[in-house]
């Protein structure tokens, strides 16, 4: 390889790096803005909002959250709904995925195609029927109503099916030779091997559930059943001017913290999931 070619390649790499940095800054700038404003007094922000890096700074917006608002209730609701949804989705998708990957039953192919077809159904198309069903069951404004509709997760079933198919069959056969009942093979042998796929699915499910807005907006009409996204949206709509932008920004930061922590700890799974592979 010639020196000129190497120099050209280095320049190309640096230009790509520069472009990535610029794009990253564009993406991260609003977040920094939100973070910065959350430490500014509301009175000052009533006058202008281009005072990000100049004093005074305050923690009052955060102490207000801790002292007065409904944010904790909404965070609790969001945590219950997101964790419940994640746990149940993992259970159902793992069982369904294992069934599709490793067992034989009549109509398996048709059923699998039907599940996959679910990927093509937009959320908005089923909102009204779902609303009717949960109204008939008198379940609106309950955790069940917030969790159950999201358990139909065709992507999760697909992901787990593909993953279980990739687990070498002879490991299960070795377990059969070891006198292991089917349920125990699933529980003790196959499920532990699927942790990377479980982590990927779990993270996506949790993030989707945490950020979900449409269904909670329809199902939860009582403020005590609001999830965080819904609660913040109502606050923004009704009280942004009176309670102050700084307080609003602090709520947003507060709401985003769990997501941030999850990204921090599970980023390798998220990256591999986005890349379309799984870490093994």
């Amino acid at each position: 390889m010639s020196t000129q070619h190497i120099a050209g390649k280095r320049l190309g790499d640096r230009l790509i790096l520069l472009a990535v940095i610029v794009l990253a800054l564009i993406w991260v700038a609003p977040l920094i803005w939100v973070f910065g404003l959350s430490f500014k007094p509301n009175a000052e922000l009533m006058r202008h909002t281009n005072v990000l890096f100049s004093p005074p700074f305050t923690l009052k917006n955060y102490t207000d959250i801790l002292g007065n608002s409904s944010v904790f209730r909404w965070i609790l609701n969001s945590a219950i709904v997101s964790l419940g949804q994640t746990f149940l989705t993992l259970v159902l998708c793992s069982l369904a995925g294992y069934g599709f990957a490793r067992t034989e039953f009549p109509g398996k192919k048709v059923l699998y195609i039907a599940v996959l077809a679910g990927l093509a159904v937009p959320e908005q198309a089923v909102v009204i029927p779902l609303h009717h069903i949960f109204a008939d069951l008198d379940l609106h404004n309950t955790y069940s109503a917030l969790i159950l509709p999201r358990l139909a997760a065709p992507f999760g079933v697909f992901l787990m099916t593909q993953y279980f198919k990739a687990v070498p069959k002879d490991i299960e056969e070795a377990a059969l030779m070891d006198n292991t009942p089917r349920w125990k093979i699933f529980w003790r042998v196959v499920l532990p091997l699927s942790v990377p796929a479980q982590a990927t699915l779990g993270i996506f499910t949790f993030l989707n559930a945490w950020n979900d807005y449409l269904w909670p907006l329809i199902s939860a009409s009582k403020p005590e059943m609001y999830t965080l996204t819904l609660g913040l949206a109502t606050t923004q709509g009704n009280f942004a001017q009176s309670e102050g932008i700084g307080f609003l920004m602090a709520q947003a930061v507060f709401a985003g913290l769990p997501i941030f922590v999850i990204y921090l700890f599970f980023q390798k799974y998220i990256v591999s999931a986005v890349a379309g592979t799984t870490v093994r």
Binding site: A174, M177, D178, N179, T180
Partner: protein, 359 residues
């Protein structure tokens, strides 16, 4: 140790018949090897014995008990898989203990068996490791250890050495032979590698297209192959096959003429042999380079293997045969050489592929 009886075993996938009708008695304590090319049904047969593959028809008995419809874990067998099939998330100790815990064995007994097997297979220092931290050879030893601790009636091996490099394969082969001598348990071994079969087996079953071609001891199969398929499959280099026409026979000697005009008087009684065209078979060690011989050819390729030298010789009619020369023979590529047939060790194959041997 347990004997295994296979009675009229059949295996079909839809309309495809993989094993048409297979019967065999495996004696208690013997080391039986199923040998054959890929796709001959040997692994399917082993999996049917293990219970991992349902039998379409026929009966399997282990230790005189019918097990045809029993699940794999209830057959008192242990299996070693080609790709080890260790549980990746468990340590070596947990891998070995898993099956024993499933049958409710006491902790003390589990520990005793693991300690004993680990000492026998030199796994003592690896017990706390996970499979990913082991080399291929170590993994295979763990797989064998996992089978040994079960103290089964019979061991099943599904090409367990094929993933190892040549040196490790040789070593593991010797370890398996030692293991069999020590445990004296029935072992059924599947391979397509004739060296493994020849060195390990007390009996070899040569299979082709789901059928038995021949059952016998390694030497028997090498010296007196029952069919042309067996003769061609066993031995390295493969047996030389040359078209032959019968020209004279009495009740002790059959004389045939080869395409290049060479006439060979064999030690074969040809009373039952038909009149059709034949094939003469001769192994390289029975076809020596001998300058004094009138049978001539040109040496194209010379292989010096250390203990012997092989020459690929083109005969006058264009047929190529492999002959053996002395290990220090000065023979070179392109030389015109003489060939001497050891007529006592010539085999004749009739049109149906059946073999006829000298007495």
């Amino acid at each position: 140790m347990a004997g295994i009886q296979l009675a009229h075993i059949q295996k079909r996938y839809g309309t495809t018949e993989v094993i048409p009708d297979f019967s065999l008695d495996i004696e208690p304590g013997e080391f039986l090897v199923f040998l054959g090319p890929s796709g001959c049904g040997k692994s399917t047969l082993l999996r049917m014995i293990a219970g991992l593959e349902p039998v379409s028809d026929g009966e399997i008995r282990i230790a005189d008990q019918p097990v045809t419809h029993l699940p794999p874990g209830a057959r008192n067998l242990a299996m070693v898989f080609q790709h080890y099939a260790l549980y990746p998330h468990m340590t070596v100790r947990e891998n070995m203990a898993f099956g024993l815990k499933n049958i409710g064995l006491a902790e003390a007994e589990i520990e005793r068996r693991i300690t004993e097997a680990a000492r026998m297979l030199e796994l003592d220092k690896l017990l706390a490791r996970k499979p990913i931290q082991l080399s291929g050879g170590q993994r295979q030893r763990v797989a064998i250890g996992r089978a040994v601790v079960k103290e089964p009636g019979a061991f099943l091996f599904d090409e367990p050495l094929s993933n190892l490099d040549a040196a490790l394969r040789n070593r593991t082969r010797v370890e398996l032979a030692r293991l069999h001598q020590r445990l004296k348990t029935t072992m059924v071994f599947v391979t397509h590698d004739q060296v493994e079969a020849m060195t390990l087996a007390t009996r070899i079953v040569v299979m082709n297209q789901g059928r038995i071609e021949q059952v016998g001891s390694p030497i028997e199969i090498y010296r007196r192959p029952a069919t042309k398929f067996v003769a061609g499959f066993i031995g390295s280099p493969a047996m030389n096959f040359i078209d032959a026409a019968p020209i004279a026979s009495d009740n002790r000697h059959l004389t045939v003429r080869l395409p290049d005009g060479t006439e060979l008087e064999t030690a074969i009684n040809a009373d039952q042999l038909g009149n059709g065209p034949l094939v003469a078979g001769v192994r390289a060690e029975s076809l020596q380079i001998d300058e004094s011989s009138p049978i001539r050819g040109r040496a194209d390729v010379i292989e010096r293997l250390g203990e012997r030298t092989l020459a690929y010789v083109t005969l006058r009619d264009g047929a190529v045969v492999v002959a053996e020369a002395h290990r220090e023979s000065p023979i070179a590529s392109g030389d015109h050489v003489g060939l001497r047939f050891d007529t006592r060790n010539i085999h004749i194959f009739d049109q149906a592929g059946r073999a006829w041997h000298g007495n």
